[in-house]
C-alpha cells in the first residue's frame, strides 16, 4: 500500500521534475551575463589562483566555505554530544591480516603526504582543503581498520580542529582589519601558477585541510568507540 502510494507520487514528481529540467538545455552556455562567466574572465587576475573552483570556494564565496567548515564542525560536535558516554565502550574490532597491516603501515605516511599535497596545492591543481582533509581521514580509517588498538589522541584532534577553525576566522578578521572587508585578501597575489600565489587562499585551504582531516578522523573515532 505504502509502496504503491510512494511509487505513484514519486512518478508524479519525477515526471514534473524531468519535464522542467528538460526545458533547461544541456551542455550549452545558457546565461551570457552570469557570474560564472565573469569568474572565468576575471578570476585569474582578481585572485591569482589558477584553479578557479578554488578561487570561488575560498575567495569569492569564502563565506560559504566558512559556513561549510562550520557544518562539518557541527557534525563532529553533534556526534560527540550524541554519542557521549562517561566510559566509552570499545567495539570488538578484529585484527586485520598481516598483509593489510603491513600495507597500511607503509601506505599511511604516503596517504598523509598525498593529502597534504592536495590541500597545499588547492589553488593550482584540482583539489583543496576538503579533498585533502578527506584523504588524510581515509588514511586514519585505514589504520583503524587494520589495527585493533589503534587510537588517536582526542585532545590533539580537538586542538587541531579549534585552531584551524580559528585561523580561518582570524584570517577573515585580519581582512576586515587591514583590508576592506571580512575575508578580504590582504596578501600580495604573486604570479599565478606558483605555490606562493593567490594571497590568502592557500593559507585558508591549509587551515581547512587540517580542520577537515581532524574532524573526519574524529567522526570515525567517535563512531568506533561507542558502537557495541
Amino acid at each position: 500500500m505504502r509502496k504503491a502510494i510512494a511509487v505513484l507520487f514519486l512518478g508524479f514528481i519525477g515526471y514534473y521534475l524531468l519535464s522542467t529540467f528538460l526545458l533547461v538545455p544541456f551542455g550549452v552556455v545558457r546565461v551570457l551575463e552570469g557570474v560564472g562567466l565573469k569568474y572565468l574572465q576575471d578570476g585569474l587576475q582578481q585572485t591569482g589562483a589558477a584553479n578557479l573552483v578554488t578561487s570561488i570556494v575560498v575567495n569569492y564565496r569564502g563565506f560559504d566555505t566558512l559556513g561549510e567548515v562550520t557544518v562539518l564542525f557541527l557534525a563532529a560536535t553533534g556526534m560527540g554530544a550524541l554519542l557521549y558516554s562517561k566510559r566509552p565502550t570499545e567495539r570488538a574490532r578484529q585484527n586485520a591480516s598481516v598483509i593489510v597491516k603491513t600495507g597500511a603501515r607503509i601506505l599511511f605516511p604516503l596517504i598523509i603526504i598525498l593529502g597534504a599535497y592536495v590541500f597545499i596545492h588547492g589553488h593550482l591543481t584540482p583539489g583543496g582543503g576538503f579533498q585533502g582533509g578527506a584523504i588524510i581521514a581515509s588514511g586514519f580509517l585505514l589504520m583503524f581498520m587494520s589495527y585493533r588498538t589503534y587510537h588517536v589522541n582526542h585532545v590533539i584532534l580537538s586542538r587541531v580542529e579549534s585552531s584551524a577553525g580559528s585561523v580561518f576566522v582570524i584570517i577573515g578578521l585580519l581582512g576586515l582589519a587591514y583590508g576592506s572587508s571580512f575575508l578580504a585578501n590582504i596578501l600580495p597575489l604573486g604570479t599565478a601558477n606558483t605555490l606562493f600565489s593567490a594571497g590568502v587562499i592557500p593559507l585558508i585551504y591549509v587551515a581547512v585541510g587540517f580542520k577537515v582531516g581532524a574532524e573526519l578522523t574524529a567522526l570515525l573515532d567517535t563512531m568506533l568507540q561507542t558502537v557495541k
Binding site: 514534473y16 522542467t20 562550520t70 557544518v71 553533534g78 580542529e161
Partner: protein, 490 residues
Amino acid sequence: MYLDPVLMIALPLFAAFLIPPLARISKGLVKYVPVLIIGFNLYETVMLLPHSMVKPVIVIIAAWAPPLGINLTIGPLGNVLALIISLVGFVVAVYNIRFVEEEPNEKYHMLFLLLTAGATGMVLTGDIFNLFVFLEITSISSYALTAFLRDRDGAEAAFKYLLIGSMASTFILLGIALIYATTGTLNMAQIAVRLKDVDPRIAIMALILLITGFGIEAEMFPLNGWAPDAYSQAPTPIGAAFGGIVVKAGVYALARLIYTIFSFQGIFHFILIAGIITLLIAEMSAIRQKQLKRMLAFSSIGQMGLVLIALGLATTRGVEGGLFQMFNHAMIKPLLFLSAGYLVFYSGSKNIEDMDGMGRVKPLLSFFFAFGAFAILGLPPLSGFWSKFIILSETISHGFIAVATLALFGSIIEAVYYLRVVGRLYFKAPHDGAKVQYVPKSALVAMSILALITLVTGLYPDLVMTYLKPAAAELIDKSIYIKAVLSAGL
C-alpha cells in the same frame, strides 16, 4: 555606533571554534560565552536599526561587490528579524546558564551558539546559496540539540526531524539549481531582476521546490510532522529556540522568496489557505494533548499558521501584522516554554495532569506561564492582542471573512486548552511528589525580560511597529531591496 555587521556571524563561529580549548581550561566559563556573544549580536542589531531603517546596509564580504561575492543585506526586515533572533537567543542563553547540567554541556552551548549564528546568517545574507548553507547550520545544530538529552525519546524525534529536514534541503538545492541554471547568478536581488525574463514554467517549479523546502522549516501543514516531536523532546530552552529562532528564520526565507525574489500572485492564495489549514489542524491537535510541551508545540504551529495567513494577504498592513505576530510569538512562546520547562522539572512529569497545583508550589513560574498563556490568546493589554487584531482586520478587509472566522474559531479552541492548563496550575491540589527547590535566578531573569517586553509592547505597540513598517514596506516594494543591493555593486 556599530561594528562591522559581519561580526554578528564571524564572532559566534569563532567563539564556537574556541569553546573546546576553553572548556579544557575551565568548564564553568563556557556557559557564559553564548551570553556574551549573543549579547554582542543584540547590541549590534539594536545599533544597526537607525541605519537600516533609512537604507539597507550592504556588507561586502571578501572585497567582492555583489553579485560577484556574497554580501550581507541588512534591510529593515533582516535587521528586525536578526534583532528578534538575538533577543530570544540572549534570553535563552541566560536561561541556559543554570539549566543544562547534563554532560557534555560545553557541546550543548556550542551547538546553541551555532544555532543562533545560523539563523542570524539566514536572515542577513543576500545570497541564496549562502542562505542554504546557513539553513543547514541551523538545522544540523537543531538535529543534534533535539537528541541532546539521553533520558528521552529525543533521538527518535531528531531522526524524524532529520529525515524531513534533509528532504527539505534536497528540494531547496534543486530549486537553487534551477534558478542558477536560468539566471546565472545566486545573488537574490539579481535573481529577482533576471527572473522576469525566465520561462515561467521553470520559475514556478523553482518556487514550488523552494517553498516546500522552506515550508518545512516554517511549519506549514502538512510539512510539519517533525515539529511536535522535536519541540517536545528537545531540552526546554531548545524548544523555546525552535519557536523563537528557527521557525522565524524559515518564515523569513519564505517571505523573501514569495515577495522579493519571485513575483507570482497565485502563490499568495496558496500561502493563505495553507496558513488557515495549518492553524486549524494544529489547534485541533493541541486540545487533546496530554503532554504540556507537546501542546505548546502544536500551539506554536498554530501561531505560525496565523503568520502565514498574514503573509498570504500580500498587503502592507497584513505583512506588518504578520511581522508583529512573529515578534510577539518569538517573545511569548519562549516564555511559555521556559516556564513550562521548570514546571515539568519540578512536577517530575511531562503530563499536563501532573501539573496540578503548581501555582501553589511555584507561584512565580506559574504566573509566568499564565501570563504567557494570556498573551498568546491575544488578551489586551498584552502584545498578542495587537498582532491578532491587525491580521484579522486585514483578512476581513480583503473579504476573507470565512478565513477570519475560522481563525477566531481556532483562537477559541486555543483559549480552552490554555485555560485548562492554567486552571490545573492554580485550582487543583498539588501532588506530594513535587520537588520544592528554588528556581535559579538566571531563569527568572530570562522569563522576566520576555514578560516585560510582552507587556510594554502591548501597552505601546507603536514602539515595535515603527520598525516593522519599513520592514513590511521592504517586502511589499521589492525595488527598495533590489536597488540597494545592486547599487552597491557599482
